[in-house]
Symmetry: C2
Subunit: 269 residues, 2 copies
């Protein structure tokens, strides 16, 4: 089984892949989200970060979902635990500067400020550990997952340095399976409406009329049409349930664009 994810080895996406698929899958790292979506023809599954409890929706991932041929077949949540990582011989007092993705640097601001570290933005969290491991920047550390320290044989100086412990990323799994209802499912759609008053309201009315709970609603600009938007909605229910079928049929008649992305079992701890 081949599973593609975005990021270097040791990325939080790799952790999500192992948590979902166990240790038997062949994991294929892709440099960017766009590379990941290009790779989907050659793999069985792709794992995609879709939203974070602090940063919100992952815009590029949402935009790429617009054109994929795969279905959403599952989801998984990963707690983001950032670690300060450096060379074996270093202790915290040896560190002067810290490399990581700007978002990770931002999420550890209190810790970084309390130690007076200089911050240096890097394109990727795990990538910053990989870079340190192959350099000799004596007074530098990186911020990434504990797994990244393990993969690149570096030392965890301190674990759990993020300011807000309510830091989770939700990943969706893309594949070709046709999932069956489990009685505890979610589904995902994308749609656009005419830009006249009440159109979004009318679409949401189809959910409200059937007491269907929405778990996410995101708006994204439509490329080439400034100030027009696609809406992404996640809701509770499975496409094979009668009330969901009806709801989606009615919505299709009210929108100018519609894409059904899939029904999948809700993640439970």
């Amino acid at each position: 089984m081949k599973v593609a994810y975005q990021g270097e080895r040791g990325a939080y996406s790799e952790i999500a892949s192992i948590k979902y698929f166990g240790n038997n899958a062949t994991l294929i790292p892709c440099k960017t989200l766009s590379d990941l979506f290009d790779m989907t023809d050659k793999v069985d599954y792709a794992i995609v970060p879709i939203e974070n409890s602090i940063e919100g929706s992952v815009n590029e991932a949402n935009d790429l979902l617009l054109t994929t041929n795969l279905n959403v077949i599952g989801e998984i949540y990963v707690r983001i635990i950032h670690c300060l990582i450096s060379y074996e011989e270093n202790n915290i007092e040896d560190i002067k500067r810290v490399y990581s993705h700007p978002q990770a640097l931002g999420q550890c601001r209190r810790f970084i400020n309390s130690h007076g570290f200089e911050t240096i933005p890097y394109y990727d969290t795990a990538g910053s550990v990989k870079m340190l491991a192959s350099s000799n920047l004596k007074d530098a550390a990186a911020i990434a997952s504990a797994r990244a320290a393990e993969v690149y044989n570096m030392k965890i100086i301190k674990e759990g340095i993020e300011d807000d412990k309510n830091n989770y990323t939700r990943f969706i799994i893309l594949g070709r399976d046709d999932t069956k209802p489990t009685n505890n499912d979610k589904s995902m759609i994308i749609f656009a409406t005419k830009h006249i008053p009440g159109t979004l309201y009318n679409v949401l009315g189809e959910f409200a009329a059937r007491n269907i709970n929405l778990t996410m609603i995101v708006s994204r600009p439509i490329k080439g049409k400034p100030w027009e938007y696609n809406f992404y909605i996640d809701f509770e229910g499975h496409k094979d349930e009668e009330r969901i079928k009806e709801c989606l049929e009615n919505i299709k008649n009210k929108v100018t664009f519609f894409k059904f992305l899939g029904s999948y079992p809700k993640f439970t701890l």
Copy 2:
């Protein structure tokens, strides 16, 4: 009159400030959006990028609006025209690598690939021109506004290198003025609802019932409450109009959190 904006001199935010306030305002650059909001006590106005026609909403700006004491008193749109900028003696065939903000690099991908430039992410567009100007990186260029080239005395090698010409950023102006209705206004609110089916639908119903056009709807995670959201809505109308007053009063009774950000004249070219 003191106006604060985010970015280095030559930033697109500086262009927006000049376009809105003319040449008589004292412009104060702030390093980050968070610095900009910290500065609002000491200035008359602050100009804030709120959404881009390609990238979507500016998440950090939305999050910072949650706690500001200022009102939205205006808006302005700026067309984003990226330039390839380098030293006086360079022509396009001398360039090997290009520095800029990752978003600007992404927006010029076709142009960059057609010339085979290496890309180097930098924290800011205008900042990358400033850095080049004070360095001697012979084969390097930056991507930023024409104004940045002017400010730092550098050469525009090529103007308008962005892939998609429909590239506009919408800025809002924060201030203390109480704006009067002009008959062509917009208003902005933030609210949160209980997480039960139909609550967002019920709020939108207040707009639909009065035929009020929504021009933006954005959801942002609530800090410390994973998977709960604040909604940001821009709509047509002014708070002093009777139907808008009624609409907002009814919404207040349906939500768990409400903040009115301001009414302001719609931008017209």
